[in-house]
């Protein structure tokens, strides 16, 4: 038995052709993934990468076509019942709640499905309503709530069974920045209680802020799993240096030096970024700039966003 919260090996999922979908689609093509307990693991990737498919397999909604997946040590196919009692799932959409009835009614019902009925169920419901900050709106119908509030109801629903492992599929999509921040703060608290989260998101800042590790997938294959702090080092790309320059002479000199792949202007006028061809040439670039009297320079490893863009490629809206 393993101590990993999630252990995925060679996971494949093919959606067979059927009426309305004439071609078979490989959504996951041999994915491996380890999620260490007690942390938030980010799952990144462009639209159609297979993130939701992976989350659905792990939460026993979908069966894998090939490969294995274990959640908290239990196989999602063989021991699905053991998995189901221990996990919570939050799919980030309008669906999945009884829209016409109140927040409280929804949560009481879901509590009962997790074996919490009567006084215990009511207690847990009130606790969660309080926790996600919906005490004032608990008697409102779900359909009357704003998107951010609905998202909190989803989270409360996902937590109702007091799960050790929680799957969050784009939980902050459509939230305003303040609501998203609140949501993140709440996740932080929940994490401190010893839960493990697998979070899919398109928000790279969010992933960088919340996750200890991130996994990037695209077209059903794994591109990278990395510790967020070291993510920049994973990139084969050379380091870069940002600097201020008043005249173009310096830029020309740099470009002609053979030390850089390129020089580009940053958002701020007069501020540039030079990408060194290698770690060694970075030192020479800095010396060259210093010789030109430029002192306002800084170096930085690539951010998660840059790593992501390089990995996934800049394919815009193409999926």
């Amino acid at each position: 038995m393993t101590d990993l919260a999630v252990e995925v090996r060679g996971l494949r999922r093919v959606y067979q052709a059927r009426r309305g979908a004439p071609e078979a689609r490989t959504a996951l093509d041999g994915i491996d993934l380890d999620v260490v307990p007690g942390q938030i693991h980010g799952l990144l990737g462009p639209n159609g990468a297979g993130k939701t498919t992976l989350v659905k397999i792990l939460s026993t909604v979908l069966l894998p076509t090939e490969g294995t997946a274990r959640v908290l040590g239990y196989d999602v196919v063989e021991h699905r019942q053991d998995v189901r009692t221990r996990i919570g799932t939050v799919f980030g959409s309008e669906r999945g709640l009884y829209a016409r009835v109140s927040v409280r009614r929804n949560l009481l019902f879901w509590a009962s499905l997790y074996g919490l009925s009567g006084r215990v169920g009511r207690h847990r419901t009130e606790q969660l309503i309080e926790r996600v900050g919906l005490a004032e709106r608990a008697d409102d119908r779900v359909e009357e709530l704003s998107k951010g509030m609905v998202q909190r109801v989803h989270l409360a629903r996902g937590l109702i069974g007091d799960p050790r492992m929680v799957f969050l599929d784009e939980p902050t999509t459509g939230l305003d920045p303040v609501a998203a921040l609140d949501f993140r703060a709440l996740l932080g608290e929940l994490l401190a209680e010893g839960r493990t989260f697998l979070l899919t998101t398109h928000d790279l800042d969010e992933a960088a802020a919340l996750c200890a590790e991130v996994t990037v997938i695209d077209r059903g294959t794994l591109l990278m799993t990395s510790n967020v702090r070291d993510v920049g080092r994973r990139l084969a790309a050379p380091d870069r240096v940002d600097f201020d320059a008043e005249d173009n002479m310096v830029l020309e000199k740099l470009r002609g030096s053979g030390l850089v792949n390129g020089v580009s202007e940053l958002d701020k006028p007069g501020r540039y970024r030079a990408e060194a061809t290698s770690k060694e040439s970075l030192t020479s670039v800095i010396r060259l700039l210093a010789d030109e009297g430029i002192t306002s320079l800084s170096t930085s490893p690539p951010t998660l966003e840059e790593v992501y863009l390089q990995l996934v490629g800049d394919r815009g809206m193409a999926v």
């Binding site: 999922r13 979908l62 009692t85 999945g96 829209a99 009481l108 009962s112 074996g115 007091d162 799960p163």
Partner: protein, 275 residues
């Protein structure tokens, strides 16, 4: 939110009482969002009264008080089946609103999930049937006794539950074949409506059909109600009524097995969350 508790162990056949209580509460809360008492009386109830009165008036055409009574009782009792089988639509809605995949992957067993969906329709169905029966028996100048009517109530409940299980089994089919729920509901309801002694006695049908009628909801319960209302022997009525829940249990077993099959094949196909 202190200790990480363990949800109860999965029991395939054992229904979970807490879930049933919450299901009914949820169903009633949903029901009340589209029906106030007045809207229910003015809308649904008037409609079913008219429907039953229409069939009963065929008896008037035949100048037979007995025919009026036969049709009236049959059609009034059929109402509870009509309403309880609406669970087919409740299950379709479950898929539509994305709660099905969450229900199907929650820790409770399928029997609990199936039993819980749309139980509220059983309750309102009993009310529709009982009120219609009483009112129209009075309107059409038929004899009726209070003990007789009271005796019908538990039997109506039995018919309602049996119809609920029957509807749930039909609903399970729609999980795999969505978008046919209206057809399934209509065909499903027409079977007992035609075969179960609502408008013509079961014995009217050729033997194979009469035999088939035995496994549909309404047949046995309605026979018991006719016995009770005509002041027949209590033990005879009990014997007839006792068959109704047996039919119900049969449909429950079929429904639970079908539901499990449909959920598993949807998990394989990836269509559990689709509609």
């Amino acid at each position: 939110m202190s200790g990480m508790n363990q949800a109860p162990t999965h029991r395939f056949w054992l229904p979970n009482r807490g879930v049933l209580v919450q299901s009914i509460a949820l169903g009633i809360a949903e029901f009340r969002t589209f029906y106030t008492l007045r809207a229910w009386l003015a809308g649904w109830f008037v409609r079913v009264l008219a429907q039953v009165a229409f069939f009963a008036s065929i008896g008037l055409l035949l100048h037979s008080k007995d025919q009026v009574r036969y049709l009236l009782v049959g059609n009034a009792v059929a109402l509870v089946c009509l309403e309880a089988t609406v669970v087919v639509l409740t299950m379709a809605a479950e898929r539509f609103q994305g709660t099905l995949e969450l229900l199907a992957t929650s820790p409770v067993g399928p029997v609990t999930v199936l039993l819980g969906r749309g139980l509220n329709w059983v309750l309102t169905g009993v009310v529709s049937s009982a009120l219609t029966l009483t009112l129209l028996l009075l309107v059409f100048g038929q004899t009726l006794s209070v003990p007789g009517l009271l005796g019908c109530l538990p039997v109506l409940l039995l018919i309602g539950l049996t119809s609920h299980f029957y509807g749930s089994a039909l609903g399970a089919i729609t999980l795999r074949f969505p978008r046919v729920e209206w057809m399934v509901l209509n065909v499903g309801f027409m079977m007992p409506m035609t075969l179960s002694g609502v408008n013509v006695p079961v014995s009217f049908w050729p033997t194979p059909l009469a035999a088939l009628a035995q496994v549909f909801p309404v047949t046995h319960g309605l026979a018991a109600i006719r016995t009770i209302l005509s002041g027949g022997s209590m033990s005879h009525a009990l014997g007839q009524a006792a068959l109704e829940p047996m039919v119900g249990m049969g449909w429950l077993v079929i429904g639970a097995l079908l539901y499990r099959r449909m959920v598993e094949s949807s998990r394989r196909r990836g269509s559990l969350g689709l509609f």
